[in-house]
């Protein structure tokens, strides 16, 4: 039985006439990596702000760890960074982390270990204001990990970083995910979510359109890209197989969309038995981007 970390039920936030979050419900289970996807202004940050005690909800409810603790007590077991890294500019990296230790009520021994993890150990005595954005973001991750949190919440962690910085942060997230920490990652960058997340929540205009696994997002079995010695015969054979919903030609290649599960080897064997030799066979899944666009378009 998996452990529930966070439950949102019918959460709504209105800013005057604007509904930023509309009746959003989802559950975060321990051990998974979640992505909250949505274009800018879809209510991702507001939703996170509510569960993190900085934005007041209008209606609905949320519970941390089955609702047995107050929000601020629960947050001591959570690591979170929202939007930009917020620290005291006049303090050094280490002093900032000491302060966070005091707030969270954890011993200061962890500071060195976490600074090492994010590669800032040699800059521990530098003032925060002297850090580059990438370093600030890494310090924020170190700070969020100080209490070895049950869940790490990241809101647009690679925003504004250069490619090198983006890579560093992503590698770090992957590393943390491998260690079994539950992660909730809000982003509008689909490939980012696709690379690290197992589950997604899709928001648009404050409403959640989909909640579930990445794989289950679209009930599609993928598609085949084929090229054979005789394209006409190939097309005809595929059409007669009854396994595809549609087949189209793109240049020299045929693209056939599956309507039932079929693996590439089995298809290859069947075609070979019918005298068709393939020079190109590739099975692909729709990218998260295709699926995302499809979901947001349909609704």
């Amino acid at each position: 039985m998996s452990q529930t970390i966070l439950t949102l039920s019918h959460l709504t936030k209105k800013f005057g006439p604007i509904t930023a979050v509309n009746n959003v419900s989802f559950t975060i289970e321990k051990g998974n990596v979640y992505g909250i996807l949505g274009p800018n202004g879809s209510g991702k940050s507001t939703t996170l702000g509510i569960v993190l005690n900085v934005v007041n909800k209008t209606s609905g409810d949320f519970d941390w760890f089955d609702g047995t603790e107050t929000t601020h007590e629960a947050l001591k077991k959570v690591g979170a960074i929202i939007e930009r890294p917020n620290f005291y500019p006049y303090m050094t990296a280490e002093q900032n982390l000491q302060l966070v230790c005091k707030i969270k009520g954890v011993p200061e021994e962890k500071i060195e270990e976490k600074l090492e993890l994010v590669g800032l150990l040699e800059r521990r005595d530098s003032k925060f204001s002297t850090f580059s954005l990438g370093m600030k973001q890494r310090l924020a991750i170190a700070s969020a990990l100080l209490n070895d949190p049950e869940i790490l919440i990241l809101d647009e962690p690679t925003n504004g970083l250069d490619p090198q910085g983006i890579r560093q942060i992503r590698d770090l997230i992957k590393l943390i995910a491998q260690q079994g920490t539950t992660i909730l990652l809000a982003s509008h960058l689909l490939d980012e979510v696709e690379k690290v997340c197992s589950h997604v929540v899709i928001l648009r205009k404050g409403e959640s359109l989909y909640t579930g696994t990445v794989d289950g997002m679209v009930a599609s079995h993928g598609f085949m890209i084929l090229q054979g010695n005789d394209q006409h015969l190939l097309m005809e054979t595929l059409e007669n197989m009854n396994a595809f919903s549609s087949i189209k030609t793109e240049g020299d290649l045929l693209i056939a969309y599956l309507k039932q599960p079929l693996d590439a080897a089995a298809l290859n064997r069947q075609l070979f038995e019918k005298g068709i030799v393939l020079s190109h066979l590739e099975k692909k899944k729709e990218s998260l981007e295709d699926q995302f666009l499809q979901i947001t378009k349909n609704n």
Binding site: F15, N53, T71, L75, N86, M91, Q95
Partner: protein
Amino acid sequence: MFRLLQIELIKLRTSRVSKVLIVGYFGLLLCIALIAAIKFDIGLFKFHLADQGIFNFPYIWHFNTFVASWLKLFLAVIIVSMMSSEYSNKTLKQNLIDGLSKKEFILSKFLTVLLFSVVSVVFVFAVSLVLGLIYSDYDELGIIFSDLQYFIGYFVKLVGFFSFCLFLGILVKRSAFALGFLILWQVVEGITAGLLYWKAEAIAPMVTRFYPLNAMSNLIKEPGSRLGAVKSAANQLGEEFTKNYDVQTLDVIIVLAWTALFIYGSYAILKQRDL
């Protein structure tokens, strides 16, 4: 509670501006002692301020707490800026995300206010005691430790004033505007008091007594006219002083009520605000 104070102390200890202002504040408090050095020596006319009785026990308690309370503006700047910088650095938001509750946040600031006030009281007491022991004409224990009510007044005055600053810092979010607001408030109190005395003199003293800044300044009345030299000069001119210089219980209650209101107000504002 100790944890909350520790959190604030880390914030203050590492900030150079705060350190400079705090050191400057206590340095200036120490400078009260320099009043003793005021000496005019012009031919036949010799004047040594320390000999005029201002350092006599228990008058010194009144005089020094009155002078020292002018310097509270220094600490007010720290308190306003320690609050507004939490907004501008967005560290308030981060503190809450890290697991501090809004109540704890306000409480940690209020504890700092109390700490500043206690330290200031102790410091002024120590400086005055030393000055008094050097210059006072009376040194019986009973006289030395009489009239300590001025320290109650001084403490309540500081706590009330700093709580007001804290409230303004939270309300306005920008330190310069918050201090501007403080000055504006003083002006508003002055103008409305003026109007009251002009239009409705009967109720004016009653009403203005409840003004926050006025109530704070009422706690310790100006000690100048109580001085022996001034008094005797006035007597010669036929003026009579019947002023009560004591710290009034009602004033203490009024200021404490304002303090409670400011702190609760700070919490209420923070609670309903989306950060």
